[in-house]
């Protein structure tokens, strides 16, 4: 009996000798990618899914001895995610009610409405792109810890799309003479200052190698777009006197900050895992950084305030520095 008890496990055998009790987050996230063997899927080696994973995931130049050693600094689980986001949404609901009583939308002046129509409502296409790109990082992620971060990030993007749709509809009802809900697609497709964003999304959508996708999206497109169209936008809206959208954007910044935290942790993780990884990431960054600088400049023009460009670039640089990476053309860290 005593012997039997001694063989009982306290936690997943997959943890090996962890030297401590795993957290609930770890218990619920650890080692769930079963496709990391020589033939990823239990199918003929040349099946489409196997070829895709071999070419775009297993063929990448990043070297990581144990992908399951990565941890999300926020340790988000399904339970903590829905609880946290329910609180956020309750807060935003409160904002919508409060400002509705104050006739917020009806009282917006022409200049403010112009800014909302130019820099806020067309973003739902961009964010849909970010949703697709987050999902791609999830499905090819070489470990379930990273995949889970990307899964919740995918959901965060849908949250933002739906809030944008909500605000777009409110504005179209309060101002039927304007083209809210109608003109966004044209703005997204043709306004010159949206084109660097659209170009980055479209090109990132065909960057299928996972390491390249990670750099293009998670290290360039998303951090720069978030720096401009969330952080920068929230301040700009506040300055011009569009408090409701400023406060909603502030709340979306919290999602972006959570994404930046795991991205920074991942960068540190990758560069610690193997000294060669930094050069791999830097190589991809060198080909992609121009998209980021173009987005920062165009974003500042969309918001009509030039200082946002410099702020966005320095936020971005700071993120890259976590992996010892530098934007081409800037002094190396």
């Amino acid at each position: 009996m005593a012997q039997q008890r001694a063989t009982r496990l306290r936690t997943w055998s997959a943890f090996g000798d962890l030297g401590r009790r795993p957290s609930e987050y770890e218990v619920l996230t650890h080692g769930m990618n079963h496709t990391m063997g020589a033939t990823p899927l239990e199918l003929p080696p040349d099946a489409h899914g196997n070829r895709w994973l071999r070419e775009h995931r297993d063929g990448m130049a990043l070297t990581v001895p144990d992908w399951d050693a990565f941890r999300d600094p926020d340790r988000v689980t399904y339970g903590s995610y829905v609880a946290m986001q329910d609180d956020r949404e309750t807060y935003v609901e409160g904002l919508l009610e409060r400002f509705d009583k104050e006739q917020h939308d009806e009282r917006l002046t022409a200049g403010r409405l112009d800014l909302l129509a130019l820099a806020v409502t067309p973003a739902r296409y961009l964010v849909h792109g970010q949703q697709m790109l987050s999902a791609y990082l999830q499905q090819l992620a070489p470990g379930s810890y990273i995949a889970t971060c990307a899964a919740f990030q995918t959901a965060d993007q849908l949250r933002r799309v739906q809030l944008l749709a909500y605000r777009t509809t409110q504005l179209s009802r309060a101002h039927p003479d304007r083209a809210f809900g109608i003109a966004e697609r044209t703005t997204w497709e043709h306004h010159p200052d949206w084109q660097p964003f659209r170009q980055a999304v479209e090109e990132a959508l065909v960057a299928y190698d996972w390491d390249l996708a990670l750099v293009a999206f998670q290290l360039v497109l998303k951090p720069v777009a978030d720096a401009v169209l969330l952080h920068g936008l929230a301040r700009r809206l506040d300055t011009v006197g569009a408090p409701l959208d400023s406060l909603i954007t502030d709340d979306l910044v919290l999602d972006a900050q959570r994404a930046a935290r795991w991205t920074r942790a991942l960068l540190t993780f990758l560069t610690d895992a193997d000294p060669g990884n930094r050069a791999v990431l830097q190589g991809h960054l060198d080909t992609w950084a121009a998209h980021g600088t173009a987005m920062a400049a165009a974003g500042a023009r969309l918001l009509g305030t030039s200082d946002i460009e410099a702020t966005a670039l320095s936020t971005w640089d700071e993120l890259l520095a976590a992996g010892g990476l530098t934007r081409p053309g800037t002094p190396s860290a």
């Binding site: 079963h34 899927l41 509705d100 791609y136």
Partner: protein, 499 residues
């Protein structure tokens, strides 16, 4: 003014734009979208079968989460686990080992929809599926982890799919294919429509009800809570089927017919024995066949009819299999018990046998005689003769042993030769599946192919067990320690002394 969901919903799904920097076809390759041969504007007809906002989703799911957690904490404190019947516990270990990773695979499948589905409405809906399946993965892991202190076998909730255990390999082959290899259209028709809408009821309704009857409130509660999500996201299959039926009905028919047979064999292997042999007799509500007929077959026929699909050509053989396949598999599972990571309940005591004969009038004739031999060996002290020495030949499509799909009088070999290699099948239906897309199956090597190819060393049963990751602490044995066979011994002695 404040809005209702209907007010803003349309805008939230108006998300397609005209690409100009890259070729749109390169960003949405048909190998992943599955939209080959379907005009792009056809997807405008794809309508969400349910509408949910992110706001409502997180609110409702948060409540569900705290509900399940409260029940589970209370039950763990009550320590009710130790009183559960051993055969029922075995069923829960089998389920957790074989299904938990499938929930995680479904996360990735839904994520594929979020990225590659040919309609932005579907790409959005996929997000809720992705969250749901993350929930199911984590619920199953939490449940199993809490039971590790009672039984190491629950380690297999996390571990199973990292091993080559043969039942896992069979399940992995199916789910890797229809969840991780298939394009969005096929994954949706095979997984959402056929598997989730069709079969998941048997796992999450039938087993939930059996679990409740057996006193396992915790597991029952978990299964039922998962089912509330499944019932929702499984509906993604309907609009997809509608679009494909309008443009390529032959493809829809083939995908659904192949998936229905492959899924039915997997459930027959796992849930069939659990319902007909593992659930304690006085707790059984329905036989596997009864449940299949009432919940799966009826429903599947209704879907086929509603969408203009034909019944699969193999329908009569499928119904015939419902009388037999799970009994063949049960005998196989029990005999090959050291190759399992759960204990097996024989489930053929006299009372149970009466129940089986009542539910399956051919049971005695087909299977009773084989169990009699097992019983004679047990009672003569020859347990060794009830254990395997080799591996059985496997089907190139289902990965299951030959002879386990139909009855004992239908054992004529089914095979074909392709590129100089002989492929064996458990039925004409599996052979037909193979012939639909030989390249999908032909290059895969079954566990036995690998054994014969020398990949498994030493080339004997212990070698195979080690290769399958089976350690003595989890290796299956009879749940009742063979005590169930004793009643046959006393009776046969009584008969002998009279003679």
């Amino acid at each position: 003014m404040l809005l209702t969901q209907d007010d803003w919903y349309e805008t939230s799904r108006d998300l397609d734009w005209t690409f100009s920097y890259v070729d749109r076809a390169a960003a949405f390759p048909t190998e992943w979208t599955g939209a080959e041969g379907i005009p792009e504007d056809a997807w405008e007809a794809w309508e969400e079968p349910f509408r949910v906002s992110y706001r409502d989703y997180v609110r409702v799911q948060r409540e569900k989460e705290s509900g399940v957690k409260a029940v589970s904490n209370a039950l763990q404190r009550a320590g009710s686990y130790d009183q559960l019947p051993a055969s029922h516990v075995a069923a829960s270990q089998m389920h957790m080992g074989l299904i938990t990773m499938v929930e995680y695979m479904a996360v990735t499948m839904q994520s594929r929809f979020c990225r590659f589905a040919p309609s932005p409405k579907w790409r959005n809906l996929g997000v809720f599926g992705l969250l749901d399946e993350t929930r199911h993965t984590q619920l199953s892991l939490r449940f199993s982890h809490a039971l590790l202190k009672h039984d190491t076998r629950f380690d297999w909730a996390q571990k199973a799919y990292h091993t080559n255990q043969w039942a896992v390999v069979a399940a992995k082959n199916l789910f890797d294919d229809i969840m991780l290899n298939a394009d969005c259209v096929e994954a949706c028709l095979a997984s959402n429509l056929t598997l989730e809408h069709g079969f998941s009821n048997i796992q999450f309704v039938a087993l939930a009800s059996d679990a409740m009857a057996a006193g396992d409130v915790n597991w029952s509660n978990l299964l039922s809570s998962i089912q509330t999500d499944e019932a929702r996201h499984a509906q993604q299959g309907f609009p997809t089927l509608e679009v494909v039926m309008a443009h390529d009905p032959g493809r829809a028919q083939r995908i659904v017919d192949v998936a229905f047979w492959r899924a039915s064999r997997i459930f027959q292997t796992l849930t069939g024995p659990a319902m007909d042999y593992y659930t304690p007799l006085d707790k059984r509500k329905m036989s596997y066949k009864e449940f299949m007929l009432e919940w799966i077959v009826d429903q599947h026929e209704r879907v086929l009819e509603d969408y203009g699909l034909k019944r699969p050509w193999y329908w009569d053989d499928f119904l015939y299999s419902l009388d037999n396949g799970q009994h063949a598999m049960q005998l196989g599972l029990w005999f090959y018990r050291p190759t399992l990571f759960w204990n097996t309940s024989a489930g053929v005591s006299r009372d149970e046998r009466a129940w089986l004969n009542d539910k399956y009038p051919q049971w005695e004739e087909n299977w009773g005689v084989l169990w009699d031999e097992v019983i004679r060996n047990i009672n003569a002290g020859h347990i060794d003769r009830t254990l395997p020495e080799t591996l059985p030949a496997l089907c190139s499509v289902t990965q299951l042993p030959l002879g386990t799909a139909m009855s004992r009088d239908r054992l004529a070999p089914v095979s074909l030769v392709r590129d100089g290699r002989v492929h064996h099948f458990d039925s004409e239906i599996s052979k037909w599946c193979f012939e639909q897309e030989p390249e999908r199956y032909a290059g895969h090597r079954t566990v036995v192919d690998r054994f014969i190819g020398g990949e498994i060393q030493p080339m004997d049963l212990p070698g195979a067990l080690a290769w399958m990751g089976l350690t003595p602490d989890v290796m299956g044995d009879d749940t009742d320690g063979y005590r169930w066979a004793r009643e046959y011994a006393t009776e046969s002695k009584a008969t002998e002394s009279k003679a």
